[in-house]
């Protein structure tokens, strides 16, 4: 049995920025088998569809998973209303995550907005061999900066409006950091991922991207979260929940 469904305890709840919630869930059976880049499928009470939320931290010893999400819709708002100590209905761990190499390899990790949380376990793996470039709208939207710095990675924060750190897009610092990198690992909005993939490919650095799509079952059965990919020269629909969320950027048809 690879997947588990159950109601688990929300051990710790805090907000990181406006509408951005940080949950620590006690779910030892799921935490034990979870991998970097996978997600959990969480059911807001009174809704029919679960919400896929990527895993931000895996603590196998304590049996906990951390998720960070933006309460921007009715479903995620209902999740945000769950009190600390309350129960949360989780299916997981799901999806094909990031493919990691030896931690001695130099990598560049690039995230944007609410795409940043699933990258934290990658920085924890590569530590000081990782350069992390995080993009946000403005200073008040910056999240997890300290968590990334604690991993020993070099952290560069960019803001669209220049209200914090580097003024501009993540692709600016990325082009400076690509030389000698063995991989680029990224998650964020589609236009950003597309630009990162292009830049990485031009520089001959393999790039992995974590995608998002409206999802149903989360396990690859209902086939709703289709995205266009090319495999062995053939164009076809892949499914974000099972073939992804993480794809080799060369497979993705943008």
């Amino acid at each position: 049995m690879k997947y588990t469904q159950g109601k688990y305890i929300l051990l710790k709840k805090q907000t990181l920025a406006k509408q951005i919630y940080d949950f620590t869930i006690l779910c030892p059976d799921i935490a034990q088998v979870a991998c970097e880049g996978q997600f959990i499928h969480v059911l807001p009470q009174g809704f029919s569809l679960r919400r896929p939320i990527s895993i931000c931290e895996i603590n196998k010893e304590q049996g906990t998973l951390r998720i960070v999400f933006d309460a921007k819709g009715d479903g995620t708002k209902a999740l945000a209303d769950i009190p600390q100590g309350g129960a949360i209905d989780v299916v997981g761990p799901l999806g094909h995550g990031f493919t990691l190499s030896e931690k001695e390899n130099k990598v560049v990790i690039v995230g944007g907005g609410i795409g940043v949380p699933p990258l934290l376990p990658l920085a924890q793996h590569y530590g000081e061999n990782a350069t992390v470039i995080l993009g946000f709208r403005s200073a008040d939207a910056v999240i997890l900066k300290k968590d990334f710095e604690a991993t020993g990675a070099k952290v560069i924060v960019c803001t669209d409006d220049g209200s914090a750190d580097v003024h501009g897009l993540v692709t600016g610092p990325l082009s400076d950091e690509l030389s000698g990198a063995s991989a680029v690992l990224s998650c964020g909005p589609i236009p950003m991922l597309k630009a990162i993939a292009k830049l990485s490919e031009e520089n001959g650095v393999p790039c992995q991207v974590s995608l998002e799509e409206r999802m149903g079952c989360g396990v690859g059965a209902c086939l709703v979260c289709a995205c266009k990919v090319q495999k062995e020269g053939q164009e076809k629909f892949g499914h974000v929940c099972k073939d992804g969320p993480v794809f080799d950027s060369k497979e993705v048809i943008w």
């Binding site: 997947y3 029919s48 409206r214 149903g216 079952c217 209902c222 289709a226």
Partner: protein
């Protein structure tokens, strides 16, 4: 423990709970949650004559107490299904119902004929898909269309044949009678109700296909009504579905006249839905001292 076994069109089911076609793939994913042998049966993902890639995303939208989907019959085609999925399914100790579809009656018949040479237990014919020869209207929206496709499929297979009815019609009982007259061994209903959602900020439909099929608890009362009407109109067994999400819903559907039930959207909400439904049916029967679930079929006492 009550006796949950039922017989539908000569086929024995250990219990009346069947994951509906479309939500359950070919069972592989759900086997990672529980053994498939716990299920009464499995209706497999709709299979057509050739590979179909399906519609563009988004293919799903949430609705109050339900959802809309427009997958577009994505499937690898009948040959691949028979070669790579069916042999595995046949080892799972549960009734395997191959759901089939096509753009023409001939395509449906060809798919059924290929299944006739396999060990599959039953065939479920989806008549809600567009008939390209009839200007794209679904076979299932007229008695003539439903009769024509059922007749051709009936001639191409000896397997027990279930015809899955569309609710997007004026009088579903007359369609049921039409397919019964052409030799259907059972009917299953309801397929999804056509629906639409619009994103009011972008003024675009939420589904890339504009419209889609609505399912989930919101449609349950419509399904109960239609199952009741059809069960009163035909002499063949009825498999009830549409928004069933609890054991009580399943019991209600059987009292309306269903000999077995299918569960679709509820599995998206909770992968364990069919297992929970089986447990809850057992509890209800025990509490009410009903020895066998088949005793309750069609026992509603209308005013």
């Amino acid at each position: 423990m009550a006796d949950l076994s039922v017989k539908v069109a000569g086929v024995d089911f250990k219990n009346p709970v069947i994951p509906a076609s479309g939500v359950f793939g070919y069972g592989r994913e759900y086997e990672e949650f529980y053994p498939l042998s716990k299920l009464g049966g499995i209706a497999t993902k709709g299979t057509t004559g050739q590979l179909r890639t399906g519609n563009l995303s988004p293919r799903i939208a949430e609705t109050p107490m339900g959802m809309l989907n427009s997958v577009g019959l994505q499937n690898p085609g009948i040959d691949k299904f028979i070669e790579t999925e069916l042999p595995n399914l046949m080892t799972k100790d549960t009734v395997i119902i191959a759901n089939i579809a096509g753009s023409t009656p001939e395509e449906c018949a060809e798919v059924a004929a290929k299944l006739d040479n396999t060990d599959v237990h039953m065939i479920e014919l989806n008549i809600s898909c567009p008939n390209v020869k009839q200007g794209g209207a679904a076979f299932g929206v007229s008695c003539e269309g439903a009769s024509a496709v059922t007749s051709l499929v009936r001639k191409s297979t000896k397997k027990p044949l279930i015809v899955k009815l569309s609710p997007n019609v004026t009088d579903i009982a007359s369609i049921a009678k039409a397919v019964e007259a052409e030799g259907a061994d059972a009917v299953s209903l309801i397929n999804t109700l056509l629906g639409m959602r619009i994103d009011i900020k972008t003024r675009r439909p939420v589904l890339r296909n504009n419209c889609g099929g609505m399912s989930g608890p919101a449609i349950f009362p419509v399904a109960v009504r239609m199952v009741w009407q059809v069960a009163n109109a035909v002499n063949i067994p009825v498999i009830g579905m549409g928004g069933i999400s609890s054991g009580r819903d399943a019991i209600e559907m059987m009292m309306a006249g269903a000999s077995a039930v299918q569960v679709g959207a509820a599995i998206i909400t909770n992968p364990f839905a069919p297992i929970n439904i089986i447990d809850e049916m057992n509890e209800f029967l025990d509490e009410n001292k009903i020895k066998s679930v088949s005793e309750i079929i069609g026992t509603v006492q209308p005013w």
